[in-house]
């Protein structure tokens, strides 16, 4: 494994290794003095062609806790770059001798193409509606930490699955580790089918929640209203919003995840977000830094550091 582009590219063993490593990293970030020298002398470029605060900060902290130098490259404008092309930008990063590139781009496939053109590790921080593999990893870690295992769980992903890179990474990771996945949302916002016997597609939230042990709530974008996906946010809330009452249909110990930022009162009620027993949303943020440390350690850490 040189790059991290899609969770489906990882074997079960590689996934579990990263989760174990992330658990160890969590020990480090809970120390009063967090910095370790593992990646001292390494330079990591955070290249974001799409606005992001949380993920970029999370990667930046992960790199810094490991002792790497992190530079942030925030590209502006449309996906079709004016003047310098995307690939010229990539070559520039390489010429600066950085040791790894973390990339977010609005066009699906860009991190993979970047990896094909660079001889250094490329980490996908989200590409269009394709993949967000570190988000998938942190979701897996959160579930494993809270419930002790992933195999055999039923995980319901609620919302705009069609446009969600988080959902695609979650699905691939969950299937690889033996969970069953349910997808539910308005008909125009969920895929028509998914080629796996362990993925089932619903439109009725109550059916999809029945007995579920984990619920991943996706952010609903206001623009889905204009494109005809949903009539209104309040109708969406009434049919697919996650409420305490709705969760009553799920497993008694149900765990609720949300990749953030939340639209409280739309796809998820405040009473759920702030319920410490059910909500794992704050764990997700902490785990995000830990899994990104694990990924950087595995991909950028020298051979000697790995053994």
């Amino acid at each position: 494994m040189r790059d991290l582009i899609a969770l489906g590219d990882l074997s079960r063993a590689q996934l579990e290794d990263l989760l174990d490593l992330a658990a160890a990293m969590k020990e480090i970030i809970r120390r009063p003095v967090k910095k370790v020298p593992t990646l001292r002398g390494k330079a990591v470029a955070n290249v974001f062609f799409e606005a992001s605060t949380r993920t970029r900060n999370s990667f930046e902290l992960a790199g810094k806790y490991l002792g790497a130098d992190v530079i942030n490259f925030q590209a502006r404008g449309s996906s079709v770059e004016k003047g310098e092309t995307l690939w010229d930008t990539v070559r520039t990063m390489r010429a600066m001798r950085v040791d790894a590139v973390i990339v977010r781009h609005q066009a699906e496939g860009v991190p993979g193409e970047m990896a094909a053109r660079l001889d250094i590790p490329v980490i996908n921080a989200g590409d269009g509606a394709h993949q967000h593999p570190t988000q998938g990893l942190l979701d897996l870690l959160t579930i494993r930490d809270r419930l002790g295992h992933i195999a055999g769980l039923t995980v319901t992903i609620v919302g705009d699955v069609l446009h969600s890179r988080v959902a695609r990474s979650d699905i691939e990771g969950l299937l690889q580790l033996g969970a069953k996945v349910r997808l539910v949302g308005p008909p125009a916002l969920i895929p028509g089918r998914w080629d796996s016997p362990h993925v089932r597609i619903y439109t009725d939230l109550a059916e999809a929640l029945a007995g579920a042990q984990v619920v991943q709530v996706l952010r609903i974008q206001r623009e889905r209203q204009a494109s005809g996906g949903i009539p209104s946010l309040r109708e969406y809330h009434d049919r697919w919003g996650i409420t305490p009452a709705g969760l009553g249909l799920a497993d008694a110990e149900v765990l609720v995840l949300h990749p953030g930022p939340q639209n409280r009162g739309v796809e998820i009620d405040s009473a759920v977000v702030d319920d410490p027993k059910r909500s794992a949303i704050q764990d997700q943020v902490e785990n995000g830094v830990a899994v990104r440390m694990a990924v950087l350690y595995r991909l950028v850490g020298g051979k000697e550091a790995m053994e």
Binding site: A107, E108, G109, G112, E113, A129, P191, G192, W194, D195
Partner: protein, 441 residues
């Protein structure tokens, strides 16, 4: 630099397998060419130069009725010289050029200019299609009759549909007074939206925006109804969906003057190719590559003749444009130089078709659709033909192409059949993979 060059030399192609789809005859023997025409073997040949045709097929006048040669105005993608060379290299004696250039070919003078340039280059007959509407803007009919007088052989706003139903009705009713068909790029753009590949399992997995097959089918159903209303001449370009084929079948069953073409890439690839090539825009084409279930229906429709013709939809772009991320790259595949081999691979190997039936789709059928006459291999007819080695199996190597555009989903794919020579009016346009450059600037 003369115009309609005719070969002055005499050639005898010996021991060749003639596949003449125009007359539905195949035979083994010699073919004599002189003064730009096929000659009776008994004619007193003036010491013809002999060319062995052993192991080769001689196929008269291949016509690709759907190509984009990008000139005038987009010569960074392709021009009439490179496009003509690509056609000759691909085995074609004639191409119908789509008018979505810059400016759009919507007046007789542009039609005349394209024809004159094509003759000056002299490698392939350039047969322009004129726009259906002025500037292909979908507002007012262009001067279809005047363009036809100037040499246009069909009419299309290709690249986009004639979306307005009233205007399509007007175009089809007007076409009843013309020889050439209205060639429709059938797509309801409100359904295709921002889609960049077929909407289905693969697009769901990759997260790319999808185009449902119904975006094509609903437009073809509308158009066949309008063809019935007007008795117009409708030709459906690059058909790719079972729903559209049902509409075409309905039209033909009702005796309407409706025809259709399919591209080699829709016969060969599926949307899985998008995943296999990991978001490389070489697979980005409109209409998009479809799933295997669609492909099977297209194959059977091509075999049965429900789909009349095969056309490449050669749509070259500059390498820099095709190097953009998938959703930003333009639609289109450079396909003149893979068309014959792709069709032979699918038709002979996968469908076990008789070559006479298969090659009708690239010869007699497009001539019939465009109202053009060509008699086939008979003495006195223009000596236009391709020599094809039907048993060659070679990986596609765009490095040997003449098109300016080398981006292709066929890169490295082994295909059956190699065009080894192309003759136009008794002169070699291409031999052994080398295009004659005398006509080129």
């Amino acid at each position: 630099m003369n115009g309609e060059r005719e070969g002055s030399g005499w050639w005898k192609i010996t021991d060749v397998r003639v596949i003449d789809p125009y007359r539905q005859r195949a035979w083994q023997g010699d073919v004599l060419v002189g003064q730009g025409r096929f000659q009776d073997l008994a004619a007193s040949a003036d010491a013809p130069e002999s060319v062995s045709g052993r192991g080769l097929w001689l196929v008269p006048r291949l016509l690709d009725m759907h190509v984009h040669l990008r000139s005038p105005g987009q010569e960074w993608k392709e021009d009439l010289a490179s496009g003509s060379a690509a056609a000759a290299h691909g085995g074609f004696a004639a191409v119908m050029t789509m008018p979505n250039t810059d400016p759009v070919v919507d007046v007789p003078s542009l039609v005349s200019w394209q024809i004159a340039e094509g003759r000056r280059i002299g490698l392939v007959d350039v047969l322009p299609a004129g726009a259906v509407t002025k500037a292909s803007g979908g507002q007012e009919l262009a001067e279809l009759w005047k363009m036809e007088k100037a040499g246009a052989v069909g009419f299309s706003d290709d690249g986009r549909p004639v979306a307005d139903g009233g205007l399509m009705r007007a175009a089809l009713s007007y076409s009843a007074t013309l020889a050439g068909p209205i060639v429709q790029h059938a797509e309801d753009v409100t359904l295709s939206g921002r889609g960049v590949m077929h909407e289905g399992e693969v697009s769901g997995r990759l997260g790319l925006a999808g185009v449902p097959g119904e975006a094509e089918a609903v437009m073809v159903w509308r158009d066949v109804q309008l063809a019935a209303l007007t008795d117009g001449r409708l030709h459906v370009a690059h058909v790719s969906t079972p729903g559209a084929l049902e509409a075409i079948q309905w039209a033909k069953a009702h005796g309407l003057r409706v025809t259709a073409e399919v591209t080699p890439h829709h016969l060969f690839f599926t949307d899985e190719r998008v995943a296999e090539l990991a978001f490389s825009p070489v697979t980005k084409v409109n209409p998009p590559l479809r799933p295997e279930s669609y492909r099977q229906v297209l194959l059977q429709a091509m075999k049965s003749g429900l789909i009349d013709a095969i056309a490449s939809d050669h749509a070259p772009h500059h390498a820099d444009e095709k190097d953009l991320p998938y959703k930003d790259a333009p639609f289109g595949i450079s396909s003149l130089e893979t068309a014959v081999a792709a069709v032979l691979t699918v038709g002979l190997d996968e469908l076990a078709m008789d070559p006479l039936t298969l090659l009708v789709r690239m010869t007699a059928a497009p001539h019939r659709i465009l109202g053009l006459s060509y008699q086939g291999l008979v003495p006195g007819e223009s000596a236009d033909f391709a020599l094809i080695d039907p048993d060659a199996r070679l990986p596609v190597d765009p490095g040997k192409w003449y098109s300016q555009a080398r981006e292709t989903p066929w890169q490295g794919v082994a295909l059956r059949g190699q065009v080894v020579a192309t003759m136009l009016r008794g002169r070699w346009a291409m031999r052994e993979g080398e295009v004659l450059t005398c006509g080129l600037r």
